[in-house]
Symmetry: C2
Subunit: 428 residues, 2 copies
Amino acid sequence: MTTPLRLGIAGLGTVGVGVVKIIRQKANLLAARTGRPIVITAVSARSRDKDRGVNLADYAWEDDPVDLAKRDDIDVFVELMGGHEGPAKDATEAAIAAGKDVITANKALLAIHGQALAEAAEAKGCVIRFEAAVAGGIPVVKSLTEGLAGNDITRVMGVMNGTCNYILTRMQDAGLPYDEVFAEADALGYLEADPNLDVGGIDAGHKLSLLSSIAFGTKVAFDGVELEGIQRISIEDINQAADLGYRIKLLGVAQLTGRGLEQRMTPCLVPADSPLGQLTGGTNMVVLEGDAVEQIVLRGPGAGEGPTASAVMGDVCDVARGLRISTFGVPVGALESTQPAQSNSPAPFYLRMALLDRPGALAKVATVLGEFGISIDRMRQGQHDGSEAPVLIVTHKTQRSALNEAIAAMSSTGVLASDPVALRIENV
Amino acid sequence: MTTPLRLGIAGLGTVGVGVVKIIRQKANLLAARTGRPIVITAVSARSRDKDRGVNLADYAWEDDPVDLAKRDDIDVFVELMGGHEGPAKDATEAAIAAGKDVITANKALLAIHGQALAEAAEAKGCVIRFEAAVAGGIPVVKSLTEGLAGNDITRVMGVMNGTCNYILTRMQDAGLPYDEVFAEADALGYLEADPNLDVGGIDAGHKLSLLSSIAFGTKVAFDGVELEGIQRISIEDINQAADLGYRIKLLGVAQLTGRGLEQRMTPCLVPADSPLGQLTGGTNMVVLEGDAVEQIVLRGPGAGEGPTASAVMGDVCDVARGLRISTFGVPVGALESTQPAQSNSPAPFYLRMALLDRPGALAKVATVLGEFGISIDRMRQGQHDGSEAPVLIVTHKTQRSALNEAIAAMSSTGVLASDPVALRIENV
């Protein structure tokens, strides 16, 4: 038996504890699979005294994760704290400076500082692995970086935030308004400390930007992700979409176009009977398209102790087996800079608005759409509710830019009671 | 730039040509991803003169793949010929004896001789990689061996023969009988030279036995796969299943139980609106279940030039990047021997039979089922067609062994016009 692989684990929340449990329970299996013992040398977390239901007595304790990262007796720094600044960043930088490999579940850290960290790691000959940062237990980073390495990747899509998908599914199933389901999710502990990371699409945007980088060999460009959260999705939207045969999903799409790198994470309508439409609860789904492989779809749990720890352990076993891959699939100097490209491929759109009760209001809206070259596939006006009437329009294929201009022009006609909700329809 | 990785490719059919094309078209991309040039040194196929639409002039030619396998100027022998005896076996053995790594798409070879080949490879320090042997473009071997390496795998399931799925889907969509669709598939070139490999479930059984070995750390046990082909599935079965809300799929299931290793590849009824039920045409789907990850579902094209070449290239890039993993995930000496266990977990069954036109025939059948403790969920008798009447029974959960005994007992009552078709209902 060769040299053990020695881990220092920073962060003993749900995922950290899950990793400790697996390493304690499966020592023989892991050694058989990787050819060497995998051991924990030291751990670090905020509170030493908290009972985490797992025996930590065998491991050295560090109050400061930076001290953990620098220890001579660890080979791999496992960062499970989260947050893109502060201790997670400091300790990761310290680990790399000390020549340690890094395994992390931290999508925010890599989305913001991935380029600098990858440069530092490459200079030191370290690897950074982050399977657990994207889509929980689904081995999507591995599939993209390794399994599909013979492909020019043409598109990456996916539902990558389980909390948003839980909220949208629950609204549909229980017929409950957004605010009520949001409160439920909060009570269940499904939301990040800053809920906007989830419902604002930021967390999912972080993940998409990491997949884009690997897929297209481009620098991580989280700033270029067109982000729209689910906060404005009402139960009315859910129900109207269902009537039309659709479900609303927070869907990420990334593709490299002649105009630049298109990345969007926005609520979309997808067919109710499609694999994406059938995705319920916290489950994630990623669609990978390449010139050779055509299309691969991966589905699995997007979060939780077991699934996320499984992803971390996949990375641990890779490092133990000696796999050394550049952070984003190619040497950091080969990653290309890109311009962000607004998603402008034509698509049908769902448009919900409230019209003021004025003669000719509906005609004005229809006229404006026509002026911007947008033709109407379906239109429904509901009963007036006080001084407002709900109107639902499904357009034929149009560009988002034309739709935005049309919405601005509608607003200036003075017939809208509020800003319309406009959602792209993706017939995937 | 470090030393090139030099390939010798044996077999220039669809997949071989696909691999050559990728290596010619993507030299820079592959070198950036793996850190070294990937080059073809020599090739071998049956006919040197055939126009394959790709320029082979840069490569040495060998008439005999064994000679190719032994060449001093190749590092990796890429076996894309097929067949579990003859040239494919001889050349693979020769390559390993000469210390070459092996990449193969040959499920039959590994299902029959995998243990011996893995032993030889391990003794020589070579690796054998076979992503393309299972489920075409889906990176399932990688996901299982590497991504889920921190899991005890509890179950593997899947639809892994695109030809069978094409036939079953086409019967349903076009309302055509088996024989007619079989002839169509043959004309389209979808069938193996020996069609029984496809429609008899053998090819899919080979694949399942390879996944079982990786999943459970057991010796490849193709002999232990309970095999049933799709040849007896009639359009009547397809339609009856559809009426009940199901689709018929050739479904593989493997799990390690206290009684031994259960592996079956049999036609089953799955819910029409489930991901497996919605799988159409040549698409494959594999479901991987582990104690930590819960459940991962992978879907993608099961065959074809691009997808299969993509899988081969994933292995090529792994070898170029220096990944060295035991053939079946653990050292060959650690693979456990298992007893085959008949699948005996209770399930509802679909039972179609033709009764002779005799008084009390239906009562006799029902009585026999009751005698074996099998209760009936639904039963339909159709109109007599000449001297026979079609009868469809859906049982409550029962064991396959009890059902087999009941069927034998029914036969001895003399009321059956032919052997019943009994299909397990998997509510997955």
